[in-house]
């Protein structure tokens, strides 16, 4: 199986909007990455999808992206001072970058307890899952769903009861 990207996801204009507007180019650069699995033959594990490219970012999606970035910034800000949370911070920084957001300014916050960390991460995973469902744009939904999955797969939540 070669999981190659499908057609129609690498072109199209990049809408320009307010600072930190989500560019289609940025999203596509992420979502069309080739996954070289090469495990099977005679089957189709092609992750490419064939939906028509969106013409422009709609306002509801833009607001949603800003809210999602704020969620990740908040997590990063609160986890920076927490022992054993470096992996989570790194994951959230990568997720924020996928949404083309800037990391928060560094300032002292009180460390979180393990229970607080688990609760915050669970809430964030649920929020991203919900946002993946309600957003209009398919490419954005894919990224938001991946962020939800990325949060849920971190050891902090995987190991929590």
């Amino acid at each position: 199986v070669s999981a190659s990207p499908g057609p129609g996801r690498g072109s199209g204009p990049s809408p320009t909007a307010a600072p930190e507007a989500l560019s289609r180019r940025g999203l596509l650069g992420l979502t069309t990455g080739v996954v070289g699995v090469g495990l099977l033959a005679g089957c189709d594990l092609d992750p490419g999808s064939s939906s028509a490219p969106p013409v422009a970012r709609t306002d509801p999606d833009q607001r949603l992206v800003e809210t999602a970035r704020a969620e990740l910034r908040g997590l990063i800000g609160r986890l920076r001072a927490t022992d054993g949370a470096a992996g989570l911070v790194a994951a959230h920084r990568a997720q924020l970058a996928a949404l083309e957001g800037r990391p928060p300014a560094s300032h002292r916050r009180r460390p979180l307890s393990e229970e607080q960390t688990v609760a915050l991460e669970r809430r964030a995973a649920e929020r991203f899952r919900h946002w993946a469902l309600v957003c209009d744009n398919g490419d954005l939904a894919r990224v938001l769903a991946s962020i939800a999955a990325g949060i849920r797969s971190q050891p902090t939540l995987r190991n929590a009861s």
């Binding site: 999981a3 495990l39 099977l40 005679g42 992750p47 939906s51 994951a91 990325g150 995987r158």
Partner: protein, 145 residues
């Protein structure tokens, strides 16, 4: 009868084809693991097999309710360089799960409503389950980064 777009139907069929392959490969890996002293790996393969069988059957029903004829499995699939050791079986399982995660992520993009919800949850479950095959946590599962 639902009102799915042609793109959504095609994406569901691609995902079903992937599930057929996943079920076949996991059965083959399970057969190989049964000869190895690797109880944790066998448990992981059993759980993954059950999960993919369930998703395959769900996808068949989702397509059939729409009046679509679900795509059938291929007669057989090929495992390049059949794994022989426990580490190789584990690595093959992880590659399979990561490929499926990419497929589910693509399905998210091409669907809406309950179909997208199914895809999102499949992506989440698969990302979490990758750890059973030694997969480290990923920030963005299914995106091939």
């Amino acid at each position: 009868v639902t009102s799915r777009s042609g793109d959504a139907v095609a994406a569901l069929q691609r995902t079903l084809a992937a599930e057929h392959a996943a079920v076949w490969v996991l059965a083959a890996l399970g057969g190989r693991a049964s000869t190895l002293v690797a109880p944790a790996l066998r448990s992981a393969l059993d759980a993954a097999y059950a999960g993919h069988v369930e998703r395959r059957d769900q996808l068949r029903r989702m397509l059939a309710v729409d009046g679509t004829d679900p795509v059938a499995a291929e007669p057989a699939y090929r495992l390049p360089g059949p794994p022989t050791t426990a580490d190789e079986v584990e690595a093959a399982g992880l590659r399979l799960e990561r490929a499926c995660a990419s497929t589910y992520a693509a399905l998210v993009a091409d669907t809406s409503g309950s179909d997208r919800l199914w895809a999102v949850d499949a992506l989440i479950d698969t990302a979490v389950g990758e750890a059973a095959f030694g997969g480290g946590p990923e920030a963005l599962p299914g995106l091939g980064t």
